[in-house]
Symmetry: C2
Subunit: 398 residues, 2 copies
């Protein structure tokens, strides 16, 4: 129950609910007399290095609540992995500001950043509490049942596929939708939540967890076309061949500072797959859309459970560090084994969530590797909540 100042920042890709976590942490901290000043660093650790802060005690509760329901990272974000020299510079700034509580909201790269800072702080004998607050639409943090940001992005994807499947019913042909998710297929798999009737799309789902073969893809599409006269496909941007080379990596060379190939913000993969179907499969009408950044930032498309859980992980991280006095960690979401959906929030070690990613378990993927199982649907449905109701004429339902 140490007294001192606090600093919080956001890192990595934005989400629909990352500001809920920020609001949860800040509002909880404002309740605790151990916490002095509350600095918000702009653009993650870059803002610490540049001494670029705002005072989060100055914002009204009303403003914080409005920011909480706003997409994207309100403090700005960054993709930067700190070096040993960065850490020394960061500690110089933090010591000057008398910061003893450090919170960093982000995905596995961000957890790695907190892990590095924590290890370096121990070496430097700087007594600072370092906490990671989870966020990732990819849902790929280890030690978590699921992660804040996933449910809302999954709601966007399922809604988009629901509408797009109706669009495809109207005009026919093949529609390919490319969905985010570098290494984990959870977000792409959420497309399956759009399916109600037997002949509804998505008819095929391709995930990074299974090797992607063009030959097999063409065969799958032809057999769906034969069955329904149309085909809606959800495909992960991260699909890779048998040797693990991303399909899109064969056509692009751009990498970010964590060494990752650029997959989002380009329509190349969709166009490549559409071109293949037009060529090899001889299908006339083939269209491809890449959902892109809308999946993480479309205002108002929010899962209620996702929003409240995102709020809770922020508050729980502050409680763990300030009230319980834990020196470092992350807050994981664990599902209770109850019939009605319920979760608990558990502090876990940084090295349990940092860097490596979690993948879709085998029981969530069908044997053919081109769709999901009922087990996945049961897992994902409560995270997303109800979709906008859509209806068809009774005479047209099979």
């Amino acid at each position: 129950m140490k007294k001192g100042n606090m600093l919080i920042a956001q890192s990595g890709g934005p989400s629909m609910v990352i500001n809920q976590s920020l609001a949860g942490a800040v509002l909880k901290a404002r309740e605790l007399r151990q916490v002095g000043k509350i600095y918000g660093a702009l653009h993650g650790i870059q803002g610490i290095l540049d001494e670029d802060f705002i005072d989060l005690r100055k914002e009204t509760r009303a403003t914080i609540e409005k920011v909480a329901t706003t997409p994207s990272s309100a403090l700005g974000s960054v993709r930067r992995k700190p070096t040993t020299e960065d850490c020394a510079a960061i500690f110089q700034v933090l010591r000057k500001l008398e910061v003893v509580y450090f919170f960093y909201i982000g995905g596995n790269d961000s957890a790695e950043t907190v892990h590095i800072i924590n290890e370096e702080a121990i070496k430097a004998q700087y007594d600072i509490h370092c906490f990671h607050i989870p966020k990732t639409i990819d849902n790929d943090l280890r030690a978590n049942d699921h992660t804040p940001g996933y449910g809302s992005a999954a709601k966007f994807v399922a809604s988009a596929i629901q509408g797009d499947d109706l669009d495809n019913r109207a005009l026919g042909g093949v529609k390919i939708d490319v969905i985010m998710g570098r290494n984990a297929g959870f977000l792409t798999a959420a497309a399956a939540l759009a399916k109600n009737d037997e002949d509804d799309g998505p008819h095929l789902i391709y995930l990074p967890e299974r090797p992607f073969s063009i030959t097999r893809f063409v065969k799958d599409v032809k057999s769906v076309m034969k069955l329904y006269g149309r085909c809606v496909i959800a495909v992960s941007e991260g699909i890779a061949d048998r040797r693990g080379v991303p399909i899109i990596a064969k056509y692009t060379r751009e990498v970010d500072s964590h060494g990752n190939v650029q997959l989002s913000g380009t329509g190349a993969l969709g166009d490549l797959l559409a071109g293949t179907l037009k060529g090899k499969a001889g299908i006339g009408r083939v269209r491809a859309d890449t959902f892109g950044y809308l999946q993480r930032s479309f205002p108002g498309i929010v899962s209620e459970s996702d929003a409240s859980e995102a709020r809770a992980v922020g508050a729980n991280a502050v409680t763990a560090a300030v009230v319980d006095g834990l020196s470092s960690g992350s807050i994981a979401i664990k599902r209770k084994p109850t019939k009605k959906y319920a979760v608990k929030f558990v502090p876990v070690a940084l090295h349990d969530v940092a860097r490596e990613t979690r993948h879709m378990p085998d029981e969530f993927i069908n044997r053919e590797g081109n769709h999901v199982t009922d087990a996945f649907i049961s897992y994902a449905r409560p995270l997303v909540g109800p979709l906008t109701p859509c209806a068809r004429f009774s005479q047209l339902r099979k």
Copy 2:
């Protein structure tokens, strides 16, 4: 006040509210004792040629209301321009069914279809009432202040840009968003509705109404980057060079049955523009998203005025044909010159809306040809209605 059967169908690209027009027409017809059977032809005129119908008296009011709020064309759609032979075959089917009221919901190509059928019916001395019911997210029908479908698609675009601009604030760089609209820039222009603060995006808007120059584009982006350190760009899929050649047409050759080049369902234009900025302008982080079919089919993103007007044009077309006995026409939306937004529905001749498209008037486009004017904002705001509120910290607003 002739007694007889009615046939209705949908054609062209789906929209969020095309089923409202269907519901409006069918529910109005069910009130009128002059109307006998109500056939819904599947996939437009293709369903007439194939004698593929459903009975729209069989569906409950509750189902029709649920279908009304569902995106896409519930009866299926088609892109087919009827030949003289098609018309003869169509009349053979319609005479057999004793259809004297024909309604076709769609855009300018669909209005052309109704125009052709009406002219051929006159030649064939077939006494049938032929009505077009307007629908197009492009907002490019002549004789209309605006068209059903536009307000909801514009709401999707404005919302998407609002979220995407916040996303770009977080991570910086250049973001290009490619928006639908073959010849008319109305939908792309709606991106401007996302802008509240002076430094909000979209910072640049490129429309098909002004020749697109790569040199000018690079110069514009560089100057926005200098001003704000980031840049969000809304660009129409239909931008063309000084000679009128679509920029994307230089890279694709696919055409539909009305002779139009494929612009949607591909990320090629966005990738081309992003590649240009990375190369010629030397900008590091450049991303491009193509909003694609989500603009016309995302469930739940609906403008209230759009939904109610779409319902009303359907009902008004039935009244014009059945009650007022007009032999052919379309229903146009005219804005009343009142301070508070209000419209009236006016029957107009088919040749006044068929085929040719309406463009953004000069007073809606800024002098530089890279953004819209306040006059456009005043025009579009009531068609779209309020967006999801978004907020930023007070200390970060300029």
